[in-house]
């Protein structure tokens, strides 16, 4: 029960290694020594610019995005009591994509695209929740079905926007849809959000463990089920919306990282949720490093890499376990 510190310490170490790796490699390679020199305040000014203004923010953005997605995925899985749930399952990424694509179509860039994506994601959340709420009682399966159907609706709108968009805008739109970190802005807000949610989740963790056993059982054991479910839903939605507005819809991280960690660490949410923040962050940092070097100087969308890395790893872990 008290063995939380060792797995978390190992994950922190892995995260740091991934970040150092990600900062060191790229179209201009740096030795770990150079990287260390810059991080401790020395190094040439070219190296300083390269690392502090380009690679470090991008690496931190990747870490924050991956962490947010994995934590949101783990929360959704508890909320829906369905291991197939991912942060996008309730149509949130569709709403975000429509918001972002409309902004791109209108010709704006940067922060406005992110803001529009965030607004779209929150709209999608409210829509699904409102519809699933219906006559007053919602069950996980009802929420899930509503989400999947609404997601299909968003999918149609996305296709419509793509079909009507001028050809020169299509590559940018497709990159956004596949998840791309090259336009991620300042990583600080997302990192703060990630740290806050990990701190908040610790006192909630035991209640989440009980909720994972079903709402009736949880209520009988003293959990106020409905407020807790609301809180998880809002929390997971905000986290996902933040991730999506930073980096587009990067698939797979939110679905698979929680599972991988559960296979190895068991299912205590007090351990799994911070572990997801670290594990999801590390996976996306690694994937983004690969995306930058595989066909350098061109870049791949990072979502392609997460899937290509994640699928075999997950299948291997699944095969190895019972």
């Amino acid at each position: 029960m008290l063995g939380y510190s060792r797995p978390l310490a190992i994950l922190v170490l892995i995260s740091l290694l991934c970040m150092v790796l990600s900062i060191s490699i790229g179209s201009a390679a740096l030795s770990p020594g150079d990287t260390w020199a810059v991080l401790t305040g020395s190094g040439t000014s070219l190296q300083q610019t390269l690392i502090l203004e380009l690679r470090l923010p991008r690496t931190l953005s990747a870490f924050a995005t991956g962490g947010l997605l994995a934590v949101a995925g783990a929360l959704m899985q508890v909320l829906l009591r369905n291991p197939l749930a991912d942060p996008y399952i309730l149509g949130l990424s569709g709403g975000a994509a429509v918001g972002a694509l409309l902004a791109m179509l209108a010709g704006v860039a940067g922060a406005l695209v992110s803001g529009s994506a965030f607004a779209g994601a929150m709209l999608a959340t409210l829509l699904v929740f409102g519809l699933a709420h219906g006559t007053g009682s919602w069950t996980p399966s009802r929420l899930l079905l509503t989400g999947v159907v609404v997601a299909a609706g968003w999918g149609a709108i996305i296709t419509l926007i793509l079909a009507m968009s001028p050809a020169r805008q299509l590559p940018g739109m497709l990159y956004w849809l596949m998840g791309d970190l090259s336009h991620a802005g300042n990583p600080a807000p997302a990192l703060v959000m990630l740290a806050l949610v990990c701190a908040l989740v610790f006192p909630l963790g035991r209640s989440l463990n009980v909720l994972a056993r079903g709402p009736l059982q949880a209520a009988a054991l003293g959990v106020s089920v409905r407020p807790l479910e609301w809180l998880i839903y809002v929390l997971a939605s905000v986290l996902t919306a933040a991730a999506v507005s930073m980096a587009g819809s990067i698939g797979f991280v939110g679905l698979v990282v929680p599972h991988m960690l559960r296979l190895v660490l068991g299912n205590d949410q007090r351990l799994i949720l911070p572990a997801c923040a670290l594990g999801g962050g590390s996976l996306l940092v690694l994937a983004d490093s690969l995306a930058r070097v595989v066909i350098a100087p061109e870049q791949l969308p990072v979502g392609v890499i997460t899937a290509l890395l994640g699928v075999p790893t997950f299948l291997y872990l699944l095969h190895r376990s019972r």
Partner: protein
């Protein structure tokens, strides 16, 4: 002072007319059995008594306080529920499952202490499932799972036990062992209220019975006053033969 009482309680089963209003007083040290045919509302009654469903009319009181006015955590410290079937969304070990029973006793910031783990292990041992403590619950047999569910409530250590078919899936020996455990709980001043399918187990182990008839009528009282063969035949719509064994009546269904 009775632990659990109901005032003119009518449970809410959608689409069904009001049944007889129940004014029960389940006192400390008493063991109640609820008997009735399938679908008569035994589980709904149990969930209503646990505060998991709203009654249509009347109210449930825990001690002197109305159940509806108490928080879930306060209720969970005084009242434990064994459900008819256990869901297992995510795999958890037997020990983790029993440890969940300690949840209402811990503050959000608290980790489970060594004492909690001792109580959980002791509960598993009492139910004879301590050798399974490292196993995943979803790999157990139905009977083993049922015993783990009872151990969870034992670790929760409530004053009032509500149980929905606690002998489900259990072999004869474990049925007796579980009922024996519940009798001990009652003897130590707690109260036990359970739905049972087996008339003879109820007749043997319960000191009070509540009969729920399909037409919505209900009657309750000390067991010896409730075991009227004609009433029981009407309850189950089944002819019975009454024989005497070990100084108590045993009811056997007529063949054909």
């Amino acid at each position: 002072m009775p632990d659990l009482n109901t005032e003119q309680l009518i449970i809410d089963i959608p689409g069904r007319a009001d049944s007889t209003a129940l004014s029960l007083q389940v006192g400390a040290g008493e063991t109640w059995g609820v008997l009735g045919p399938n679908g008569v509302g035994k589980t709904t009654l149990l969930h209503t008594l646990a505060g998991l469903r709203k009654p249509r009319k009347g109210r449930v009181k825990l001690g002197t306080a109305a159940l509806a006015s108490l928080g879930r955590r306060t209720i969970a410290r005084r009242l434990g529920v064994v459900f008819q079937d256990q869901q297992d969304g995510f795999p958890a070990t037997v020990l983790e499952t029993a440890l969940v029973g300690r949840h209402p006793w811990l503050s959000p910031w608290q980790m489970e202490t060594a004492e909690d783990e001792r109580l959980a292990r002791q509960a598993l041992e009492t139910l004879g499932v301590d050798h399974l403590s490292g196993r995943l619950v979803n790999t157990l047999s139905g009977g083993e799972r049922q015993r783990v569910a009872i151990a969870t409530v034992l670790a929760q250590s409530p004053d009032t036990w509500l149980l929905d078919e606690p002998t489900n899936h259990l072999d004869l020996h474990h049925q007796v062992a579980v009922l024996q455990l519940l009798s001990e709980q009652a003897r130590s001043g707690r109260s036990v209220f359970m739905c049972l399918h087996d008339l003879n187990l109820a007749a043997r182990w319960c000191d009070h019975l509540l009969l729920l008839y399909p037409n919505g009528e209900a009657c309750w009282g000390p067991t010896e006053t409730m075991l009227i063969p004609s009433a029981l035949e009407r309850l189950y719509d089944q002819k019975l033969i009454t024989v005497e064994a070990d100084g108590a009546p045993v009811f056997v269904p007529v063949r054909g």
